[in-house]
């Protein structure tokens, strides 16, 4: 039982959910090694386990303000594959912060994998801040694999602010995010990915701007070191008067590879869509500027990367 967390569990929990212990207030669900091990509801948020498959339903009551939900996943066993379906139902005009994320510590030789399928259903006027952090640790040779899927269905005038961060140590990840936006809905996505060694990270964003005056902004920043490979694929489709912007910046180091394919499809004359992609090494002028402040080249590189991924 996870009520008494060991040091490893505490560390993973802190890294993916900024929690030092299980929350004493607010709704939460801790999943560890493929099982739900601790859960709590709050006045405005109810979490119920699914009966037909692995996962939970999270219901946020209409009009609820200022509540938070923590649903971290930690995996410490080698050789485990975990598939979980979590569905979020956000009531009309509710405002909630949801902190998810997964930390895998694999000290064995077998692959550990977590596939989290999250579906968000936002009712009219609701607002969600969704923070998702992923990290892999452990000295084992087994893979640390994460495949998060996020499906977002946004009713009129709702807002979804998503922060997705892959902090490092994840051997392979395939991240898929799809969204459909109603009238006046606003979607902001911020992605940060760090890979090294021979890791691979692939991101797919697919956004449909269906409702009039809906908008999406995607900002992806990634750093690839050593021999790692990253791929960013996005498509924004504007089907009405709407606004969409995708920005993808990548810093490459060593022998890394980054591929970026941002695509916008305007299907209405009033759709305003744009994309920007920039990939390259750290700019020499940035390094020199920091060196004029007294930093060594190595410290300057570290500072630039830390800021870039902030």
């Amino acid at each position: 039982m996870a009520n008494a967390l060991n040091e490893l569990e505490k560390r993973l929990l802190a890294q993916v959910a900024d929690l030092e212990a299980l929350p004493q207030s607010g709704a939460f669900n801790l999943r560890e090694n493929g099982k739900g091990v601790a859960r709590g509801n709050s006045a405005g948020v109810e979490i119920t386990p699914k009966t037909d498959k692995s996962g939970i339903d999270i219901s946020v009551k209409a009009g609820v303000k200022g509540e938070s939900v923590h649903i971290p996943v930690i995996m410490t066993e080698s050789g485990l594959t975990d598939l979980v379906y979590n569905d979020f139902y956000i009531g009309e005009d509710a405002e909630v912060v949801i902190v998810a994320g997964c930390g895998i510590d694999n000290c064995g030789s077998q692959k550990s994998q977590h596939d989290g399928i999250h579906a968000f259903h936002l009712a009219k006027g609701s607002r969600v801040k969704y923070i998702e952090k992923h990290i892999g640790t452990g000295v084992g040779t087994g893979g640390r694999v994460l495949n998060p899927v996020t499906e977002i269905f946004m009713d009129d005038d709702s807002a979804f602010d998503m922060e997705t961060v892959q902090l490092g140590g994840v051997t392979t990840s395939v991240r898929k995010t799809t969204a459909t936006l109603g009238k006046g809905a606003k979607l902001n996505i911020s992605e940060r990915v760090l890979t090294s060694e021979n890791q691979t990270a692939t991101t797919y964003f697919e956004v449909d701007l269906v409702g009039k005056n809906s908008s999406v902004e995607v900002v992806s920043r990634s750093v690839a070191r050593d021999g790692s490979v990253q791929e960013f694929v996005s498509e924004v489709r504007g089907r009405t008067a709407c606004f969409g912007r995708v920005e993808c910046d990548g810093i490459m180091m060593d022998n890394a590879v980054i591929r970026s394919s941002p695509r916008v499809s305007a299907e209405n004359v009033d759709a305003e869509l744009m994309h920007e992609a920039a990939i390259g090494k750290i700019a020499g002028e940035q390094l020199v500027k920091l060196e004029t402040l007294g930093l060594s080249k190595q410290d300057a590189e570290a500072m630039i990367i830390k800021g870039f991924l902030k």
Binding site: V288, T292, G294, K297, K306, G307, K310
Partner: protein, 247 residues
């Protein structure tokens, strides 16, 4: 004291070597403010970058307080007490004004230090410390933050490359005051500038022409000379040969 001895620098051009600096000798005394001026392409920025170590001269030495620092890297010179503000500020995605001022100072500045430093360049710390040094700041704002990064270091030697470029006249008044204060603190300041108002506040004015020191002296005297000579079609000062006078 900072000394430049027989500095020569040339680059590969389409017709062979192109000389940028040709035997420059200059002394910069403690508590003294020196303005380097001259027409475009006369070697001013190259000279400033040679002091910081960003450019390595082909010949000659840079001496700080009796030590030859010609072979030191940019970082090593920074740690020896040389600050540099670029003509074109660099943008950093993700790094804030506060992050860079902290790096410049070599530790977390107090709120009061940030306020003092940014107000010297006409900015309010509350409005700026959390702002990213990227496309959301104007050229003038970036320039003032660039100067603030040099000022907060309180270095033995501060080099500013065209600090007035892109600065509005109101902020320029404040900057003039900040540069004047450097002299009072006994530090060496070297400014590359075309701005007469900055020149008049300096102790010494150096005119570069064709990579050579064409004139060195008190600002009034040198400015009078500049006005008295004609400028040829190619931009060189008529009669602007190195007079052999050492600063």
């Amino acid at each position: 004291m900072l000394q430049l001895r027989n500095i020569r620098y040339a680059v590969d051009g389409t017709d062979g070597k192109r000389t940028i600096l040709d035997g420059v000798n200059l002394d910069f005394n403690d508590g003294e403010q020196t303005i380097i001026t001259g027409h475009n392409g006369s070697g001013k920025t190259t000279l400033a970058k040679i002091i910081m170590g960003i450019i390595t001269p082909n010949d000659g030495t840079v001496v700080l307080d009796g030590d030859d620092i010609t072979g030191l890297s940019v970082s090593e010179r920074a740690r020896r007490g040389i600050a540099f503000a670029f003509q074109q500020p660099v943008r950093f995605k993700g790094l804030t004004v506060g992050d860079l001022l902290e790096a410049a100072r070599g530790g977390k500045p107090t709120r009061a230090e940030l306020c003092d430093c940014l107000s010297e360049v006409g900015l309010c710390a509350v409005d700026y410390i959390d702002r990213e040094l990227s496309g959301n700041l104007s050229g003038g704002e970036l320039k003032r933050i660039e100067i603030a990064m040099a000022l907060i270091r309180k270095c033995r030697v501060s080099v500013f490359d065209e600090p007035e470029a892109g600065i509005d006249i109101w902020s320029f008044d404040r900057l003039s005051g900040a540069f004047a204060a450097l002299k009072g603190e006994g530090r060496i300041s070297v400014l590359v500038s075309h701005q007469e108002r900055i020149m008049r506040g300096a102790d010494k004015l150096v005119v570069l022409d064709g990579g050579k020191v064409a004139r060195v002296g008190a600002p009034d005297e040198v400015l009078k000379h500049i006005r008295s000579v004609s400028v040829s079609a190619c931009g060189r000062l008529a009669g602007g040969e190195n007079n052999g006078k050492r600063a």
